[in-house]
């Protein structure tokens, strides 16, 4: 068995029929089994697109190109459709940014939860339900049996996000891709979700690719952090390195731009001006 669960080399995502520079350009990184990797970067730097690209879920109108895109040893670009379906359906779980709208409003929680395992692992209805209940328990949802019969709108945002996570976990994936799973939530709920992710990572060894704006948050959770800027990776560093002081000026600026509880109130925050980082190309026309 390979140590690397996800290998991305020279990933480029481009918009069709537009002259704009591709929103994601030449991204390389790897995620090892059991590792928690964070991606941070300003809004629009391509974090979401990268994660969707990896999961082969790019929205219509965008195209993907990469030298290597390997998941669990399988080639995600050239591989056969059938094989990929099963692989991605069971081994990769997605937790999206907006818990409010990421669950089908017209379908009961239970049905949404079991459909993937029923499809890919051929579980019986009852077995799948049992698994769903266990999975909901794992994410500390009370009265899990009852929840299966509820609709998403009957749950709070935090619960919905936990349902999303529980859904992803049911098939015991080797990689969880979580795109800003807590942006819309309270800090307390955020803390719970983070705890859950770590917990799972611990228990079943799933690797986590965690995307967030919040560099402080990532610094608390991740083993490694990838910093993106304008569709490129500017730095890929371990958390200790980050804490010790990153090399890239953008990462440094990013850390300073966010106030934390200890920020000096008498000083103005540092901001990142567009012109500050001279990447090879200018940002957007």
């Amino acid at each position: 068995m390979n140590d690397v669960i996800l290998r991305v080399e020279d990933l480029t995502i481009s918009t069709s029929g537009r002259d704009d520079p591709p929103p994601v350009r030449g991204v390389d990184f790897t995620v090892r089994r059991g590792e928690i990797v964070g991606i941070v970067g300003e809004s629009g730097s391509g974090k979401t697109l990268t994660s969707l690209g990896i999961a082969r879920l790019l929205p219509h109108g965008l195209s993907l190109d990469a030298t290597t895109l390997e998941f669990d040893g399988h080639d995600l670009i050239g591989g056969s459709d059938r094989e990929l379906r099963r692989l991605l359906g069971t081994q990769m779980a997605m937790v999206f940014q907006d818990p409010m709208s990421s669950l089908n409003p017209a379908r009961k929680i239970g049905k949404q939860m079991v459909e993937a395992v029923r499809e890919h692992r051929g579980l019986s209805k009852s077995a799948a339900r049992e698994l769903a209940v266990r999975s909901l328990e794992d994410v500390y949802i009370t009265e899990p049996e009852k929840r299966l019969w509820q609709y998403p709108h009957e749950l709070s945002g935090g619960m919905r996000q936990r349902v999303m996570i529980a859904m992803g976990l049911m098939s015991e994936p080797s990689l969880i891709v979580a795109d800003e799973p807590t942006t819309a939530l309270d800090v307390t709920v955020q803390a719970q979700v983070m705890q859950l992710l770590c917990d799972l990572n611990d228990r079943s060894g799933s690797a986590v690719l965690l995307i967030s704006h919040n560099i402080s948050l990532l610094s608390e959770v991740c083993d490694r952090i990838i910093v993106m800027f304008r569709g490129r990776i500017v730095e890929d560093l371990t958390t200790s390195k980050l804490l010790a002081g990153p090399d890239h000026p953008y990462t440094q600026a990013l850390m300073r731009a966010v106030p934390d509880l200890a920020t000096d109130r008498t000083k103005a925050l540092e901001t990142i001006a567009d012109t500050e980082f001279d990447l090879e190309e200018p940002a957007r026309a």
Binding site: T15, R18, D20, P23, E42, S43, G44, S45, T48, P59, H60, G61, R230, A268, T271, A273, D274, A283, R284
Partner: protein, 333 residues
Amino acid sequence: MTDVHPDHDGTDVRGDQRRRGTTRQMVRAFLSSPTGILSGLVLAALAVLVVMGPNGFGSAAVVSDLGRASEGPSEDFVAGTDALGRDILTRTLAATRTSILYATLAVLIAMVAGALIGGLLAAAGPRVRRIGGGVIDTMMGFGDILLAVVVIAIVGVGSQGAILAIAVAFTPNFARFTYSLVDSVMVRDYMAAAKVIGVGRSGISRRYVGRNVADSMAIVTFTAIAEGIMAMSALSFLGLGVQSPTFDWGQMLTDGVRNFYLNPYAALVPAALILVTGLAVGLFGDALARAVNPVLWSERPSLFAGRLGGRRPLVGKDVMGPGAAVETEGNRP
């Protein structure tokens, strides 16, 4: 102010320049759609016919020649003649004025009445809204034709009756549309913001409700004209439409349909004009919708409002919103 660099390029913030820019952008947006141009040309041609009217064709459209009555297509009469020996093609073209004007008139009446009712309802209390909404829903449930027939039962047959009937029949639709449109505007944050700033009632209704509602209303009114022509022709078919000497496509089509087995062209020619008008109005409306809504001028990429954001239906809450815009400082134009 360390990091802000306003580009002092001397741009003024005055009105006329602003307006010129707006118009230019609208025109550009409109011209960027081939269907818009095509339908515009068709509509221009129809407008010429409207201006010409029945008299624009000399006597050909109105004077009968019983010696050549009810003929089939020939070299003289491309689509044949009617029972009084009038050339069907000419007559159909001549009927453009009445058909379009009457439908337009009916739709305009409906628009004004509907906008008033809908606007007032949207501003009214919850009880009135509920009851008013129920009545409008039910009226809509009757459908255009049935409502029109019932109105004609009251006001009597004839051109005026038909116009009024169509106007009444369309009013609930407009009322409903205005209602949901105004309603969707009312609950928006910018309305609350305007109130907080202290914008007065008239400012709110003109600059906020008015501007956000007007173009959708205009476009819907525009497209409704095609529906109006159809409805008018249906009334003619039922014998409830315009009466001689006035003639419109509906009357010609009805007559043609009755004569279908002897001279199908008598039906197909007016049908084609109705069809072309309907299509042109629809396509033009679409193009116009894109042109007048600044949000759609440039379709900007964003995850959920991407290319498809521009093609939302012109109905309900999504009229104004660009969807979940991925806004970034880095996206600065």
